[in-house]
Symmetry: D2
Subunit: 373 residues, 4 copies
């Protein structure tokens, strides 16, 4: 930690690390400390939790799964420390820990006094007045592993109510999968390293990422998420609209730069008569809509249709080739990052998007029960 | 309020109506009650407030300003009821009230038992088990007037620190203003009814809205917002990233369906080497970036560059022509809405976007001071 | 507002004015502005509210009821502005307003530059850097009228579940009512101006307050509160124990200086074998306790027995006789307060204690429902 | 976990385990799991933390220190897992863990199906619908070890500002230390096992606890706490008065049944003229009071004088002799608890009271900075 001479406020500040109102996940840990972890509070009592399914979600996010993701090797084994008795939730908070095993802090030595462009180095330094350069400290995407644990617990509870969550890679750079999700076999998502359910498109995406990686470059992409089985009524209609809480959850993921629900930005180009979701009565008497331009949320509240949204991720900021930048004293310098980074964040972002959706929806579901007499 | 027989959960529930953590706006009121209003808590003491400037912002949002917005006539005169002594904030909460003057509840009688498609009628009914059909009740865009009051107070405080907020209409349906905002004269935004700073494009947009209105139809659009003068360091890096809180604030506005910051969805199509924001040292020693693909936020924290984001609004759901739908008993019916509605929400959304940006930024600014020793 | 030269931090700050997590009351207003009021958020939908019963609670707190309370004349008529349709709660927030009618700001002119001893004048000035001397500004007990409104709504909802709340004056200065509440007729509480259900003791208390008043002095006292009908299970067991949230609610009332539940401080003098609350099975199979030393809360959670607690109120700080103090410049001076003040706060605190109990219990009740699958 | 047949609601629920608004401690863990721990969020960046001082506070709370506390042997070694770089806080959350080493779950086997009187067994079962009988699960006082960690970090930061916190045992059963704290040498508090700074009184208390223990009984007591060096201005004046947040923090400690600040319940017996705290100007120009009946808080805000409060603890519920009770089926039974329990909770509660005071005051201090322009 060097004394900085930045012409900005360098007074220390704090950060908030808690997601949710009722079902609350608080995370801690840096990529290069002994462990990361968190506390899940507000877990309903009496639910039989499957720890293997939690680990499975972590495995999906784990680095080192294929040639197109970071080579960092982490076993990412989660230890659940509390809140369970004989495998059943007790209502007590679930504390958990994921030991860090593969810390190459040395990789970052040459970055200690330098601001990597488009990375969080400078903004953290501006905010906190000091710099944790070891792998990005708290801004490392490794933090999202804890969200996957919180999401995996939420997901199991949601699944017991018939709510399912499927995310997939729908764009890598200019390669876009535009097929309506009804015409995709979403069970194929995990069949390839890109996590795109159309295997042909997946192959093209894979080749593009390989090429980008060999260039020492990175590439952005889009994740689409579909949540089915949500009953009408979730979401608070003014400040905590379901569309707003989902947006916040998704935009809190590293590298996320855009969120849209239903027809989103494309819908803004159209007429009301084209964007209508007419109501109908299903044979079983349920109110349904014959279209879903709204993406399952109307007036901030779920309407029973599938909740569909998309998240845009910028290309990872760390390039594996020399870039011009400045050091902490403001002098020009050239940086050649080593470290181990994903050329495209999207394949590993898929389980994180699902996790944040699960946390958001379970929280909305619980909050919706809050005030019933 | 009729006894409904919907095949969904109709148990009553609650809603959350508070924005912000430290600077907190809580709103109340329906479009057809005696008044709407709210409480602004967390207002810093010792600030000389200009009440005329608050009223001015309300006037910008007020209906009946031109031929292309709703003809509802409301004087929208705000009464500040507390929190001020001799014009200076005391640190006490500012309670305020805006009397409703032009309630045509009769306009809505034919909608009492019907679910308007793509509107919040059904979702509110599903959530609360009853139906306030009088102008949409709490889901009415009239609620946003209270946000404008909360935003106008925040804006004055921000302006005293050199922070300015400019939003403008950047798209109406397919007509898009793609000019970089640096090349626009943003002071022209309020010179036309559309609130587009390019007067030629504004004229085209105006004609389109007129045509849409004469068709009894509606049209979507996009609002772009630019915030200048924010120092590096605002935003919490994990759960309350500035990109996430801005997304949440914007997506909480009626009809908002998409949010992107910086290059957003377009940036997801590109390589990291193309999206780089290189750091430089300005002549005065300040760290600046020579590009701003990030939109002023990196790692969830402001970096000192302009904060730029866009919000997509769907077309208003209420058409002034017959639409097929169902009634509360699930029977098919045809609805011909009367009421008074905007054919395009975007021109009046501009001051609401600015208000929500002001609330979010002042809250982030205050929160950032929170934990300094 | 004078420029102060206090040797303390005078930077402005904010204040928090919201009670509750789910059922949330936010209040605003000073005793000498146009109105006080608030917003009740989180009101369950579908409840038929009796507005007269709300007004009735306000009338119980109203000044000018007898010779032993402040002569300030306020009609204290509450206007409910939103959240109701045909008398039924809609789930939308209830905004309300109580116009101030009898403001004698002139009474306070001689206090403008002076710190009244043991009053909040100095601490507010230290915190906010300015001084609202008009009747104490936000620190005026008038603010509690808004709590009575929020409590009256909660109380009706609780009563519909069989939960009743009875507070009464159990001590005025050294005169203490030590009878077990089971042996009192709590319906007599409002039969006298002191609000003590033992009419003989009430008469003694009344005479004491008269004498104190004629001395230009004030006197402290204790309010006891009994809540019946609460099922076992309310309260969160670690941070938001029911004993802790009740303590916080009561200690937030002006002049409150002590809180105890069950045997409280007296219980600390005893052995565990003396303080035991043995469990028994009632004829209907319910688990009950044959004693209630715990005051209805064990491990922070209600156990089904009556919840009993006591709140100590200090004597009002404002004496109607000359007192030595200092002015804002630190010079010695003598103050002879005029204004209109209660010689004993306890009789009018009774409905405020009940209101805060109602808000706390409904919030705990709603929160307890939060996470049930 | 047995299927219970209680005539009460057994639906599962959640619990809240977070203290504080800005400086937030979230704890997890049961006394008989692998570890307890927590996350401290909102720690200001740039503070050099002394880990030994954190461990020292834990050692003060640790069981097995003397013959009058529980014989449970725990090393209580805390591991700080994140939030520090080279010993300096980074603004990131501090995750921590305390492994459990001495779990005698077998001690509790005979309690599995029984409700211990005056303990939390029944209320937890009523709330969560299941029973973690192993040492009380989450209701175990072992949870307070995590509070001591959170408090020890806060304490160091407060001490760097000149704020000191001293708690001591002021009563054990009927033996009360009534000496004004100004006349005590508070540095002697830790010189004896009772933690009473008057060594003669301490000796009497010690003998009483020994006698109580040999009877298989328990005894209550009182802890007094004095906080010095707090500047005027801390505390929010309506909902989060410093007196209310301190009350809540203290009443959240296991076995706490009463809280009073300043003259508390005794002050309620007196006249305003007797309870006056006259203002004076100190030689250095500071505003001071020549008495401190208020206990350092006026109008909910600190006034610069010492903050003094007292906390009453009931006798521990678990007796080491046979007691009559019922089992989970409601049948009468006799329980002879084994386990290892404190005959008097007060000596080990002293560091917990200090920890909760530190958390509350640092949080108030940070919140007070929140809204300064």
């Amino acid at each position: 930690m060097s004394a900085l001479s930045l012409p900005i406020s360098q007074l220390p500040a704090t950060m908030s690390n808690t997601f949710g109102h009722i079902y609350r996940l608080t995370t801690f840990g840096e990529s290069h400390g002994p462990a990361i972890g968190g506390v899940i509070d507000g877990v309903p009592a009496g639910f039989r939790l499957n720890p293997e399914a939690v680990q499975h979600e972590l495995d999906r996010r784990r680095p080192g799964q294929s040639a197109i993701v970071t080579a960092r090797r982490e076993s990412d084994t989660v230890q659940l420390l509390s809140g369970l008795m004989d495998g059943v939730t007790t209502g007590a908070p679930i504390g958990f820990m994921i030991p860090n095993s593969d810390q190459h802090s040395g990789d970052y030595d040459n970055m200690a006094g330098v601001f990597r462009p488009s990375h969080a180095d400078y903004t953290y330094t501006a905010k906190y007045g000091l710099r944790d350069h070891r792998g990005g400290g708290r801004s490392s995407a490794r933090e999202t592993a804890c969200r996957v644990v919180g999401g995996a617990v939420a997901r199991q509870i949601l699944e017991s109510m018939g709510i399912t969550i499927h995310a997939y890679t729908s764009a890598v750079g200019p390669i876009s999968l535009d097929t309506d999700y009804h015409d995709l076999d979403l069970s194929l998502t995990d069949s390839n390293a890109v996590r795109c359910p159309d295997t042909d498109v997946a192959a093209s995406m894979y080749r593009l990422i390989e090429r980008i990686k060999s260039d020492g470059d990175t590439i952005g992409g889009v994740v689409t998420c579909v949540v089915s089985g949500v009953k009408a009524g979730l979401g608070e209609p003014v400040a905590d609209r379901l569309s707003a809480t989902l947006a916040s959850a998704m935009m809190s993921i590293n590298a996320a730069k855009g969120f849209e629900i239903g027809m989103g930005f494309e819908g803004a180009r159209h007429r009301g008569s084209e964007m209508m979701d007419p109501f109908e009565t299903a044979p079983d008497g349920t109110v349904v809509t014959s279209a879903n331009h709204s993406g399952g949320v109307q007036g901030g509240i779920s309407n029973g249709a599938d909740i569909c949204f998309r998240v845009a991720f910028k290309p990872v900021a760390t390039l594996l080739r020399p870039v011009d930048t400045i050091d902490c004293e403001g002098n020009r310098t050239t940086l050649k990052a080593r470290g181990r980074h994903d050329p495209c964040v999207v394949p590993r972002a898929v389980p994180v998007v699902e996790a944040m959706a699960a946390i958001t929806l379970l929280d909305a579901w619980l909050l919706n029960k809050t005030a019933r007499i």
